[in-house]
């Protein structure tokens, strides 16, 4: 098993298949809270459902209301199981905390680049660990 150190942002443990986006994500207007599908035109994940995934993306973008949309996703059971950011910013960090989505950022070394679609990943948002086989 590979274990990577990361910075803890939002506590809890989440497991799932990695869904990797090269683009930043805006939850307000970018993701449909009723379905969990990315609806932003031209986005790397357009048409993909983020529900239950370990969502890997560089950072958030757009309106701060995006934090609240993450909470709506969680209430609708369409939230990701965990979030890994290259570098967290307040919209996603706050959204993850209020929605109880485990989240880490700043993976040690160049390990962020090694995360690929479909990998079974476990994120520990309290300890700041990312684990996969």
């Amino acid at each position: 098993m590979v274990q990577i150190n990361a910075r803890a942002i939002s506590r809890g443990i989440g497991k799932g298949k990695a869904l990797v986006s090269k683009d930043a994500i805006s939850f307000l207007g970018g993701v449909d809270p009723k379905t969990g599908v990315v609806v932003e035109k031209g986005h790397a994940l357009e048409g993909k459902c983020i529900a239950g995934t370990v969502l890997v993306f560089p950072r958030g973008k757009g309106s701060t209301v995006g934090s609240y949309v993450m909470l709506q996703l969680a209430k609708n059971k369409n939230a990701p199981a965990a979030i890994i950011n290259l570098e967290a910013e307040p919209i996603i960090a706050v959204g993850a905390i209020i929605s109880k989505i485990p989240m880490v950022d700043k993976l040690e070394g160049e390990t962020y680049e090694q995360l690929k679609n479909g990998m079974e990943i476990s994120v520990d948002g309290a300890e700041g660990k990312v684990r996969y086989e």
Binding site: L28, V65, Y68, L71, Q72, A88, P90, A93, V94, I97
Partner: protein
């Protein structure tokens, strides 16, 4: 800090502050004496925000320090008179109810410093609204970053904020000096200066020289306009602000009478506005007095809203200013403003403003054409 007796809301609030502290490299938390919470208008936060606030209130969130609100999407007492759609009003009231349940003072204003909350030089606070943040940092010399809705609420619940950014003296040094080479008379002049400098500042803190006279109304107009055009959260004016901290070799720019004329022109060209909106930021009692004097005994041919804090409106009511303005066909509107109120749904298409901030935001947020100028240029009569 927290044990098992803390509410879920308090635990989550501290988790938010710790995460933000990590993101911004804060070494510790600093106690705050007051909090101003953003995310109040239903127009901006929508159902997602409303659900968040209701959940937080249910989880036992309570403000630990004096906390008040940004402007809401409507006047709580006279929304029907103003033509606010009922569906919107219901949602807005639900937002305010959630905040009230958290022990937050029901004053919805961008000018808390005009209704009795005046933090002292060096005092740490956690305020949200961009013009209030600018005024507190610059005119009062308090210490605050520009908080978002959740981070301000978390500060209210915990009584602390992460110690980074403008809380630290090393981040409060001006590296850009503006020589003002023209006389500034009216609020619209200060708004134009703010629009010009905000864009040039690109996130730096401007320091002004050559401004000889500016009362608090003019300073709030300047700060609001710079915050809107350039996210400026701190400025200094030589001889006027309580602090004037400038680096050894700041970049120097000037602002001439030509710049003033060009910037005023850029801020708005539409003439004969359907609605003239004064009070961005919220009008002081003095400004309401000036409007009343100007419209006294006349009949307005356009709509006029003078936006202010409820507490200021009560003083204007008592002084007879509200009566004078209403007799001319205008209104004194509390709790809200032309930006966060759904004026486009009421049917307005062209709005006049003497505020650089309003001129900046009216086209995007409210789909308005903007007429920019002083009171005498904007108002028209029967």
């Amino acid at each position: 800090m927290f044990d098992g007796e803390q509410s879920e809301a308090a635990r989550q609030s501290m988790e938010i502050l710790v995460a933000l502290g990590k993101i911004y490299g804060a070494k510790n938390m600093v106690p705050v004496s007051s909090v101003q919470v953003a995310g109040v208008s239903y127009k901006t936060i929508g159902d997602a925000g409303l659900e968040y606030l209701q959940g937080l209130a249910q989880n036992g969130a309570k403000a630990k320090v004096p906390t008040f609100l940004n402007p809401a999407g409507m006047d709580r007492r006279q929304w029907q008179r103003l033509g606010i759609p009922e569906e919107f009003a219901k949602k807005q009231i639900a937002v305010l109810d959630a905040y009230e349940a958290m022990g937050i003072t029901m004053s919805c204003t961008c000018t808390p410093y005009l209704i009795g909350t005046r933090p002292k030089l060096g005092e740490h606070i956690a305020w949200s609204e961009s013009s209030a943040v600018s005024f507190a940092n610059s005119v009062l010399g308090a210490r605050t970053n520009r908080e978002g809705g959740p981070s301000a609420l978390a500060a209210a619940v915990c009584g602390v904020t992460p110690n980074y950014g403008l809380h630290l003296d090393k981040n409060r040094i001006s590296t850009m000096t503006v020589k003002v080479e023209t006389e500034l008379k009216r609020s619209a002049d200060f708004g134009a200066l703010g629009a010009f400098v905000g864009e040039a500042a690109k996130g730096r803190h401007p320091s002004f020289v050559g401004v000889t006279k500016a009362n608090e109304d003019k300073l709030k107009a300047l700060g609001a306009s710079m915050a809107a055009s350039g996210s400026t959260a701190l400025f200094y004016i030589q001889g006027i602000t309580p602090e004037f901290v400038v680096s050894d070799s700041p970049e120097k720019i000037s602002f001439t009478s030509h710049d003033l004329a060009v910037t005023r022109e850029k801020l708005g060209t539409a003439d004969k506005p359907e609605l003239v909106s004064i009070g961005c930021p919220h009008a002081s009692l003095e400004e309401i007095h000036d409007v009343a004097e100007f419209v006294k005994g006349k009949r307005l041919a356009c709509q006029l809203w003078v936006c202010t804090a409820q507490q200021t409106k009560e003083k204007a009511d008592a002084a007879g200013y509200t009566g004078t303005i209403e007799a001319a066909g205008g209104r004194v509107v509390a709790d809200t403003c032309m930006i966060v109120c759904p004026i486009e749904d009421i049917g307005f298409k062209t709005t006049g403003a003497n505020s650089g901030k309003a001129a900046k935001y009216l086209p995007g947020f409210c789909k308005q054409k903007v007429s920019y100028g002083d009171l005498e240029e904007l108002l028209w009569f029967k």
